[in-house]
């Protein structure tokens, strides 16, 4: 059982507080992704778990041990760094076996473990090479191999795919997920890329400014964002948000020009006259005849389209709604001329209402 527990963990640099009392419980075998914009404290949190940063306040435990005072080597963790940090003066083989050699394991044992890790990651032909003779993807795999060989309780990944090109990143993402299925260890993974977070995570922890904004499965974050930050950070393209005012007849007037009914989930949470932000994803604003028709309340809108982004199976449309640009998705796309006015369906039960002041979601 390797649970990792963070109990009101704080990181201060001098007077500046970078992480403000993070509470988190990571279950055994879970793939947890810490995601957020740069400077949100996600890497710092990871480095505190690793023991590379002191913990200013609070408690971190791995398994049943409180590790606050333990140096990294006694925490039985592995870490994959953004720049891989492969030892440049050692061959791949020596890199992989380094941790066991430090632990003074017998040579035969080391060789066996290195062979096994190399087999898992397809590094067999590269064992005698130096890191400088490897491609980016190969280095990445060696870094993961080095992490496996240690047979740690917890794997830590610090933006491991950021240095790879887009295509390789997608490939390695799959490999990391396969690796997790294979070894089944607890993984804590830091990234700023919400796509990585969505595709890899069992659970996502969304952070901003040293606080946890929302914790949940990828679909929970996608479907039920707790505030506008979560709504715009998770999902691509980001959620459309439009200012509006709640009326006393069960509608919201968007930017003084367009009226939509209040979505059912928000109806009890709003009061007449309240300033709100009305949110919906591009997936839920679809041209009639080019949508997956969903049961539920639909609103009809006619909007001029200013720009299109064809993506193959779908086309992103940039339309104007109440004087603001919003994005919509067109399935089975047909050519669209800029300036063309198109009839859209807005799926109301998938829409969100946020408080305009603090950005919090208004939902039952």
């Amino acid at each position: 059982m390797t649970e990792v527990t963070l109990n009101r963990v704080v990181k201060r640099y001098g007077k500046h507080e970078a992480v403000h009392g993070v509470d988190l419980k990571i279950h055994d075998g879970e793939f947890l992704v810490l995601v957020g914009p740069s400077g949100c404290g996600k890497s710092t949190t990871l480095r505190m778990i690793a023991g590379l940063e002191d913990i200013s306040d609070g408690e971190i435990s791995i398994g049943n041990r409180i590790v606050n005072e333990l140096p990294p080597r006694e925490r039985n963790i592995s870490m994959v760094f953004q720049n891989y940090a492969l030892y440049p003066h050692m061959t791949v083989c020596e890199n992989l076996g380094f941790t066991l050699r430090i632990a003074k394991q017998p040579e035969a044992e080391i060789e066996k473990a290195v062979k096994k890790a190399a087999g898992i990651l397809g590094l067999d032909g590269l064992l005698e090479r130096k890191p400088s003779e490897l491609s980016g993807g190969e280095r990445q795999r060696v870094a993961m191999g080095r992490a496996i060989v240690r047979r740690p309780d917890v794997f830590l990944f610090d933006e491991p795919l950021s240095n790879l090109d887009a295509k390789l990143r997608t490939q390695m993402r799959v490999e990391i997920k396969k690796l997790h299925h294979r070894v089944g260890n607890t993984i804590i993974y830091v990234t700023h890329d919400q796509v990585e977070a969505m595709t890899l995570a069992d659970r996502i922890v969304l952070m901003r400014d040293g606080h946890i904004v929302q914790v949940g499965t990828p679909m929970e974050l996608f479907n039920n964002p707790v505030n506008t930050f979560s709504a715009t950070f998770i999902g691509s393209p980001p959620m459309n948000l439009i200012d509006g005012v709640v009326t006393d007849v069960g509608t919201i007037i968007l930017r003084n020009s367009l009226t939509v009914p209040i979505p059912a989930v928000a109806r009890k949470q709003v009061v007449s006259g309240q300033q709100v932000q009305f949110g919906f994803r591009a997936d839920n604003l679809m041209p009639i005849g080019h949508a997956v028709e969903e049961p539920g309340e639909l609103a009809n809108l006619e909007l001029p389209v200013s720009l299109t982004e064809p993506l193959g199976t779908e086309t992103l449309l940039f339309a104007e709604l109440a004087g603001q640009e919003v994005q919509a998705k067109m399935l089975n796309p047909r050519p669209v001329q800029p300036g063309e006015t198109i009839a859209f369906h807005l799926v109301l039960n998938k829409c969100h209402v946020f408080d305009a002041g603090n950005g919090k979601a208004l939902r039952d």
Binding site: P71, P72, R73, M79, H89, T99, I102, A103
Partner: protein, 287 residues
């Protein structure tokens, strides 16, 4: 066609000027050395001849005399060589150990007055060594370090440490901190992480720093001439003075000893030149 030709000839002229410039600079650097080597193989009469003798006679007399007995213009070459070697090697090793520690600390750790210390160290280098010779002499005389290897080693360590710190600080800054972090996670202590990962990676830089420290100690004359007295501690540069008598200077002998002094330094530099260049360009990127 015509334009092409003028362009080509202009490029040719520029290249010639470039080579000529290089030749002149190299001549300024190399001719004194060459002059020493050549003179060590010429009879004294020829060295002093006016007008100069353009066709040299080759002789090994100076070397023969130098290695010969004391009465015949000989000097205790092996003693001097030994002294130089002991003092230079010992001071280099100590200066590198201290300097590397210091450089590493400046590169990796944050502490109070860090910049102040660094500037202070660099300022010490600005003090001309000779200016310290009198106070050093008095202090050393009081504690009995005059005319000892240890005394000279101490002085050279003090001279070399600031420079070594400055150089190695640059090298360690170039090494991503993730190396030692990865090593620590892999099971190393901070100390092991340094020796097993960071030190091997910075090897070139440390080698470069060591060469500089060694050459400084090997060639130093001003302080050594004050602080050494006898055959037991005089280094080679000081040994050169043995060739000056009250009214004469034995230029040939002096040149012969100088050649012996240059050779080890030359060989050493040649052996590590690959490291030296790698090390210097590696550390040189530092902003």
């Amino acid at each position: 066609m015509n334009r092409n030709q003028t362009h080509r000839s202009r490029r040719w002229i520029l290249k010639s000027l470039h080579l000529l410039g290089l030749f002149l600079i190299m001549a300024v650097i190399c001719i004194p050395g060459l002059w020493i080597v050549l003179n060590s193989f010429r009879p004294t009469v020829e060295i002093m001849a006016k007008p100069p003798v353009w066709t040299p006679t080759f002789t090994l007399d100076h070397y023969r005399a130098m290695f010969g007995g004391a009465g015949e213009g000989g000097v205790p070459v092996f003693q001097y060589f030994r002294n130089s070697l002991i003092v230079s090697v010992a001071s280099t090793v100590i200066a590198i150990l201290i300097g590397m520690g210091g450089g590493y600390a400046f590169a990796r750790y944050r502490f109070r007055f860090k910049n102040g210390y660094f500037v202070g160290l660099m300022l010490f280098r600005a003090v001309p060594g000779v200016a310290l010779s009198l106070p050093l002499f008095i202090v050393f005389a009081l504690v009995g370090l005059i005319d000892t290897h240890i005394g000279l080693i101490l002085v050279y360590v003090a001279m070399n440490v600031p420079f070594t710190i400055w150089l190695t600080d640059g090298f360690f800054r170039q090494i991503p901190k993730e190396f030692h972090e990865a090593a620590e996670i892999d099971g190393c202590t901070r100390w092991q992480a340094f020796w097993k990962v960071e030190f091997p990676v910075a090897r070139s830089g440390v080698a470069a720093a060591a060469i500089f420290a060694f050459l400084t100690s090997w060639n130093e004359f001003a302080l050594a001439s004050q602080l050494t007295r006898s055959v037991g501690s005089k280094t080679m540069p000081v040994g050169l003075l043995d060739f000056t008598a009250e009214f004469t200077i034995n230029w040939g002998g002096m040149c012969a000893l100088a050649v012996l002094m240059i050779l080890p330094a030359l060989i050493l530099t040649f052996l590590v030149q690959k490291h030296l260049i790698a090390g210097l360009t590696f550390g040189g990127v530092k902003g």
